[in-house]
């Protein structure tokens, strides 16, 4: 690991240079909300952003992605795989989103490696940024263990006030600093400042989960038949927003489209959601997860149990996006806490006493 310092006045220059060689994506303001979008100059970039509506998964796993192209009238090559990569930098990724990307990486690598994801991923350089204060009233990253950056970063920025500390995590990352005259080596003062920023930061976040994250899978195992799921199911609108905005949701549907010739076309994948009616419906109309309560349970079990058990990584990174998007106030941290409250022996004792 090596540490470098980029004075803030050098940022604009740096971004301009990156743009000449890469597609640069980063947080920017759209109307009154931040989104990840193409950056054309440092002015577009809002590194000090509160959470975006969609996570950076929209770059790694586009909403609509062509998988194959075909022309059944052509006898030689009726099907061509379509793999699209473009050297891309994602700038300013929050640490929770970095954890989510680690999970996506694993999922698309394991079993049958997904060439489409992996090719794109290989060509993406991740520049993460240290979160110094909570980015949304709904986030609970500290509780989920995602407040520190995972090792998957290529370059990691920490805002030191007048400058950024740059930590390189890979060759891809150090390539971005190549021959940058504005970048200098850190002084003792810089190290002190970094330490100060980091220790202050930790204080400014709260633990919002009332128990330890490692207990979550077993808590859920005990809660399969909890009536909370029915209560949530009654409230849930089934709108799917929670899964669309979630950085660790990746389920997809596959659709074919043709032109008027009917023999030329493409097969694409598009984001799907386990909260939607048709998700688990098979031919004949049988729906294996027909109730909103079952679907919500499935969602929270994936977030809090299945992914953790299958991949050793958290399935919910605590970004709070789903809670922000949910119009009927279904929030993972509150759901988990409520389950904990209902499962803990003290509460049941209290209940026994009062009833």
């Amino acid at each position: 690991m090596s540490l470098k310092i980029l004075p803030k006045r050098g940022l604009s220059d740096w971004v301009s240079r990156l743009i000449t060689e890469y597609r640069v994506v980063g947080p920017k303001l759209m109307k009154d909300q931040y989104i990840f979008g193409d950056i054309h100059s440092a002015d577009d970039l809002a590194l000090d952003y509160s959470t975006t509506i969609l996570p950076p998964k929209k770059i790694l796993l586009p909403q609509r992605e062509t998988l194959i192209q075909f022309d059944t009238a052509s006898s030689s090559q009726p099907i061509e795989p379509f793999i699209e990569t473009q050297a891309t930098i994602i700038l300013g990724v929050h640490t929770c989103d970095m954890h989510a990307i680690s999970l996506l990486d694993q999922i698309f690598l394991e079993g049958f490696p997904d060439q489409h994801y992996l090719a794109r991923r290989k060509n993406i350089t991740l520049v993460s940024i240290e979160c110094l204060r909570s980015c949304s009233e709904h986030s609970f990253c500290k509780s989920m263990g995602t407040l520190s950056v995972p090792e998957t970063f290529d370059l990691h920025l920490t805002d030191l006030g007048n400058s950024y500390a740059l930590e390189t995590g890979s060759k891809k990352g150090s390539a971005l600093l190549w021959s940058m005259s504005a970048v200098r080596d850190p002084t003792n003062g810089d190290y002190r400042q970094l330490q100060k920023v980091m220790s202050e930061k930790w204080q400014s976040f709260n633990y919002r989960l009332v128990f330890d994250i490692t207990e979550l899978p077993s808590l859920l195992a005990l809660s399969y038949d909890n009536t909370l799921w029915d209560e949530i199911g009654d409230r849930c609108l089934g709108c799917g927003a929670c899964t669309i905005v979630c950085p660790t949701c990746y389920c997809f549907n596959v659709i074919d489209e043709v032109d008027f010739s009917l023999h030329r076309g493409a097969r694409s994948r598009v984001w799907d959601s386990c909260q939607l009616d048709r998700f688990a419906t098979v031919a004949g109309g049988h729906n294996f997860r027909v109730n909103r309560s079952d679907r919500q349970r499935h969602r929270f079990f994936r977030k809090g149990k299945y992914q953790m058990e299958a991949y050793g990584l958290v399935g919910c990174v605590g970004c709070g996006r789903c809670a922000q998007s949910c119009l009927v106030h279904i929030s993972p941290v509150e759901v988990f806490n409520e389950l904990y409250r209902r499962q803990s022996p003290i509460t049941s004792l209290e209940q026994e006493v009062t009833t």
């Binding site: 998988l67 490696p113 596959v254 659709i255 998700f279 688990a280 004949g284 294996f288 499935h298």
Partner: protein, 283 residues
């Protein structure tokens, strides 16, 4: 890893089907057709009974279909028995010999046939459930000496929906197979059993400790068949089921087929009851 799988991994996309020739199309019932598909370049599919392929009609979509022929009878070809149920399956039904279809696979975990050897085998398919089990039945029959008693209980809604009637006759006449067929709604010509599949169970004797039972059918059927099998004292690990879920990729990515933590496409579609007994969403 099968050569086909190898090829798929070496070509640049797990989602790219290989075009294969439709050799033969046979109308089996009003709703089902049996397709014989030829592998390119004399390759072999290298499948196990219980596995499935993703079948593409380019421009319409893809559907998971069980391989209905047994590996023992493959020889560069395989068979799919397809019910017309929606857009892809209807498009398949409009294909003729000489047309081609896209195939990916085989996918999924088939039945662990090695563990079945030396045991009595009880098949209990219902309706279209015979399509996937036929692969295993013929595999067993082609290696008949290595298995104990073979019993087949088959139920369909009415006589016209019975699949593979030629083979039923063949099995019927074999002395080393015990076959019982029943229909829910008989027609005038039907002289056999009437009633749901569970009405066949009293007709058979089962050596509980040494029997492997394999069942496949519509979602509602499993619960009743399981009660019978468990009631006869079969071990949970010896009862096998093949499950259906919505699938969009077949390779454990799209999330549709998930039952609790299990991916039907990769962890199944063949499961022992012991494996899924605690998977609440499975049955």
């Amino acid at each position: 890893m099968s050569p086909l799988l190898q090829e798929i991994l070496e070509t640049s996309s797990i989602y790219k089907p290989t075009m294969m020739l439709v050799l033969d199309v046979r109308q089996v019932t009003q709703l089902e057709k049996l397709f014989t598909i030829e592998m390119p370049n004399g390759l072999s599919l290298g499948h196990k009974p219980g596995q499935f392929v993703e079948v593409s009609v380019l421009g319409i979509g893809e559907a998971p279909i069980s391989i209905s022929s047994s590996p023992s009878r493959s020889n560069g070809k395989f068979e799919l028995c397809v019910r017309r149920a929606g857009s892809v399956t209807s498009a398949l039904h409009s294909l003729n010999p000489g047309d081609s279809v896209g195939i990916r696979g085989p996918f999924g975990r088939g039945f662990p046939i090695d563990r079945f050897r030396g045991k009595d085998i009880l098949f209990a398919p219902g309706g279209l459930g015979l399509a996937p089990l036929r692969s295993l039945i013929n595999e067993v029959l082609d290696d008949r000496g290595n298995f104990g008693r073979v019993t087949i209980l088959y139920g369909a809604r009415n006589p016209s929906e019975l699949l593979f009637t030629d083979e039923l006759v063949e099995w019927e006449t074999r002395t080393d197979v015990e076959l019982h067929v029943t229909v829910d709604h008989p027609d005038n010509d039907w002289t056999g059993n009437v009633g749901v599949i569970t009405t066949l169970f009293p007709k058979i004797r089962v050596h509980a400790r040494n029997t492997i039972a394999i069942t496949c059918g519509p979602p509602a059927m499993y619960r009743f068949v399981l009660v019978e099998l468990l009631g006869k004292g079969l071990l949970e690990g010896n009862i096998w089921l093949s499950l259906e879920r919505r699938m969009k990729c077949g390779v454990g990515k799209c999330g549709h087929c998930q039952m609790n933590h299990i991916y039907t496409c990769q962890d199944g579609p063949a499961f022992s009851y012991a494996e899924i007994k605690h998977v609440e969403e499975a049955l």
